[in-house]
């Protein structure tokens, strides 16, 4: 992939990053990345999960500091030691998880930390007025009142508040990190309109996404990151296939394990009939032995809620669950685990790991939870610490010492330990939520193969992922969710566009 020289320069770049490198223990997150963006330009920044997009943005916004390399803003070299400095310099980043204070009003949030003061008092009138002005960018019918409390707003409106904040800060560069992840089609159109207006004001927009359709629709230029390096750079928007090739850089077929043969897929192990709770509606579902069932959908579609309902975290309140012919009702994860279900959570740090405990302890925790409490902690037989460490060896968990605290392991190794935790219990159903989030590319294939092997061993695998190529590449069957329902079911080999159309509910988007 060679960089295409700029064809139609629109003046000097407002932002340039030269040869920026950043390492974390065990990972080189960015390797001499150069990047630039012009006034009034939308530059798409694309790449797979773990390609280094968010590290690059965090360096730009002063959350991280680069190990090497320079950043030029308006041709002047800058160093940001703290997010406040980059904000003051005119760089606003809108993260996927908003940094708004949920209990404060729109005006309070827009003026967070820089409230105008008049005669010793907050100048609320001015805050209100200027908030209105910033919001006017969105036209007349945005429906956001400066006095509304953030938690009462919808996701799209919260995003508008973030953008209004950037406008109010007179940002020269606005970075948007997958802004459409939680939006429906109409809201996306509103957002695109807003971005056009930001462009017209001369703001440079860095737009992170992995949806080619949005790149096509919005971008003026594209930078592709892969494994911490710039894989390609275009000062125009090329064919989508060119971008995808640069992103993936290898044939998908080699990366993902082969599908299950028809003879490998067995009976339904877990069946749900008419399942529902306050987030899920009339769920009918079969998870079959030997099969990987992938769940696709946009954020908030109910995929995670479904996994959590099956596992007894927020159980179904309606309908029936049948496990191997017997009706079951799980009121807690413990019930579910006892019956043979397991769940690998999406937020590994918050829900998966015991950061201060050893690697072995993390692997043993579930076995111990179901063993006799007063038995020795070394366990015995199939559930012994020794067997667990052998298992780590087979799974190629890399650690200096299994007595080391797990927080010092890399994401991929941590994930393997969380999976190993379950293997000792010989589960029948394994639910994986975002199994490769924060896992580097090489370790991903290992996790896919592991899932396939488990399926071959007769387990039913449910995979929930926001990484659509991954869902399509690994699953034998793809289920699409939208607004708490399962809306479509596809065989392996279905196209990305079809699934996206089902997920967003707009068939015209399939084009």
């Amino acid at each position: 992939m060679s960089a295409v020289p700029p064809e139609n320069p629109q003046g000097p770049p407002v932002l340039e990053m030269h040869d920026v490198s950043k390492s974390f223990p065990g990972v080189k997150a960015l390797d001499r990345v150069s990047f630039h963006c012009r006034r009034g330009e939308v530059r798409a920044l694309v790449g797979e999960n773990g390609a280094g997009k968010s590290t690059l943005i965090k360096i730009l916004s002063g959350v991280y500091q680069a190990d090497e390399g320079t950043i030029l803003l308006g041709a002047k070299e800058v160093h940001f030691a703290h997010p406040v400095e980059s904000l003051a310099a005119g760089i606003s980043v809108i993260y996927q998880e908003f940094s708004l204070l949920p209990d404060r009003t729109v005006a309070d949030n827009i003026f967070l930390g820089r409230e105008p003061v008049r005669r010793g008092m907050l100048d609320r009138a001015r805050m209100w007025r200027e908030t209105q002005e910033s919001l006017s960018l969105f036209g007349a019918d945005h429906g956001i009142d400066p006095g509304s409390v953030i938690s009462e707003l919808g996701v799209a409106q919260q995003q508008m508040v973030e953008i209004a904040k950037a406008v109010s800060l007179e940002a020269r560069v606005v970075v948007m990190d997958e802004p459409t992840a939680a939006l429906d089609e109409n809201e996306c159109e509103v957002l695109f309109g807003i971005i056009e207006r930001l462009k017209a004001r001369g703001t440079a927009v860095i737009y992170i996404t992995h949806r080619m359709r949005e790149v096509d629709r919005l971008a003026d230029a594209v930078t592709v990151l892969k494994d911490g390096r710039v894989a390609a750079e275009f000062d125009h928007v090329p064919e989508a296939s060119l971008i995808i090739n640069a992103m993936v850089g290898r044939e998908l077929r080699d990366f993902y394990p082969p599908a299950a043969g028809a003879e490998e897929i067995g009976e339904a192990i877990l069946t749900v009939r008419g399942g529902g709770n306050d987030k899920l509606f009339s769920i009918d579902l079969e998870l079959k032995a030997g099969e990987i069932a992938g769940f696709a959908g946009i954020q908030g579609a109910g995929r995670t809620a479904l996994g959590r309902a099956l596992f007894g975290i927020e159980p179904f309140t309606r309908g029936a669950m049948i496990l191997e012919g017997k009706e079951v009702r799980f009121q807690s994860p413990r019930d579910a685990i006892r019956a043979g279900l397991t769940l690998v959570p999406g937020d590994r740090k918050a829900e998966g790991l015991l950061l201060m405990q050893s690697v072995t302890d993390n692997g043993m925790v579930s076995a111990r939870a179901f063993a006799r409490l007063l038995a020795g902690h070394g366990g015995s037989g199939r559930l012994s610490a020794q067997r667990m460490e052998e298992l780590f060896g087979q799974m190629e968990v890399r650690a200096a010492d299994y007595r080391q605290e797990i927080q010092f392991l890399s994401g991929g190794n941590q994930q393997k330990v969380v999976v190993a935790r379950w293997l000792s219990l010989a589960p029948k159903v394994l639910i994986f939520i975002e199994p490769t989030r924060g896992v580097d590319v090489n370790a991903k294939a290992g996790i896919y193969n592991l899932m396939r092997e488990l399926a071959r061993g007769g387990a039913a695998i449910m995979m929930i992922s926001s990484d659509l190529p991954e869902v399509l590449g690994v699953s034998d069957r793809i289920l699409v969710m939208r607004e708490g329902r399962i809306v479509a079911e596809h065989r392996r080999g279905v196209g990305e566009a079809t699934v996206m159309a089902d997920a967003t509910g707009h068939t015209e988007a399939a084009a």
Partner: protein
């Protein structure tokens, strides 16, 4: 010796050193200081008396560490001690024959207190500090109610035996206080439970990350409640020993809750859970007692103990935070 082997030895030494908790060195230094002030300390009577005095706090701290490692605090132990002493004296009413069932009843009471603490924290989700502070007020109110504000009666010898009596005329050590035997039994039991059983690992898991523990199938409520129960039962034990040598009053247990937490913190326990050791906590309790002993020798008035304890508590936590900030990853 070649420089290479020296380096290797240095590396080995560095690797080995952190295994010994620094609190043991602090304790050793303090004991040397005590011996300097009072050479009689090396006699069995000297150190046995020291250990006898330290026993209630050490037992209490060994129970407190369970609650701390599981991610909470138990501030109700001081008033549990008071209630144990007051309750025993009221129930015994100078009748030595009642000793055994009174002791049994006190343990039942401790069980009830621990269960209540644990259930309030687990089901009502009240922060443990508030829940156990509330329990502390409630229990000391009960102690006052029971005794009518002015405790009367005294504890019969049969009851005071555990806290006060010594086995004498032993070879080598000459005397052995009964309270020391109680201490040894309790500590061995609690050390084994924390560091050698599945249960102990689950206590660590729950304190480290309760959400992850629940998703891994750990019975969160049972582990948490049992930690509070263990703490309350050690408080009853400490109360029985204190009743033996301190006598009956409504403030016999006052301040013990913070001493127990200080001992645990000195032993390197992680506040809010996940890390802690029974043996290091015992060392912390002995250290605290040694400091108090020294302050006595130096002739500082009693209240200064509180000031020193407050300073130790804050600086021990501050030091732990400093270590964590500067830890090499």
């Amino acid at each position: 010796m070649s420089s290479e082997t020296q380096d290797l030895n240095a590396v080995r030494a560095r690797r080995r050193l952190p295994r010994i908790n620094p609190i043991w060195f602090v304790l050793a230094a303090l004991i040397v200081a005590i011996i300097v002030y009072n050479p009689n300390f090396v006699q069995p009577v000297g150190y046995m008396n020291f250990l006898k005095r330290a026993a209630p706090l050490a037992i209490l701290a060994a129970g407190q560490i369970y609650v701390i490692v599981s991610g909470g605090f138990d501030l109700s132990v001081g008033s549990t001690i008071t209630l144990t002493v007051i309750g025993s004296s009221m129930l015994l009413n100078n009748n030595p024959d009642a000793t055994w069932w009174v002791i049994l009843l006190m343990y039942a009471m401790g069980l009830a207190i621990g269960l209540t603490n644990g259930l309030v924290v687990s089901i009502l989700k009240v922060p443990s500090l508030i829940a156990t502070l509330g329990m502390m007020i409630t229990l000391s109110g009960l102690a006052l109610m029971w005794s009518g504000g002015a405790p009367r009666g005294y504890l019969p010898e049969s009851f005071r035996y555990f806290g006060r009596a010594n086995i004498t005329d032993l070879p080598l050590i000459n005397i052995l206080p009964i309270s020391l035997i109680v201490l040894a039994v309790v500590v061995c039991l609690l050390w084994w439970l924390m560091h050698r059983t599945n249960y102990g690992r689950l206590v660590h898991a729950v304190g480290d990350n309760p959400r992850a523990a629940v998703l891994a199938g750990v019975p969160l409520m049972r582990v948490r409640v049992s930690a509070f129960v263990i703490s309350s039962l050690t408080a009853v034990t400490a109360g029985i020993l204190l009743g033996g040598f301190a006598g009956v009053s409504t403030d016999v247990g006052r301040g013990f809750e913070l001493q127990a937490i200080t001992a645990a913190v000195l032993g390197g326990a992680q506040l809010l859970g996940g890390r802690g050791s029974v043996s290091a906590t015992i060392a912390g309790a002995l250290t605290l007692t040694a400091i108090f002993t020294l302050l006595n020798f130096v002739g500082l008035p009693q209240p200064v103990r509180e000031v020193v304890q407050g300073l130790i508590l804050i600086s021990a936590v501050a030091y732990a935070m400093y270590r964590r900030r500067h830890a090499v990853h």
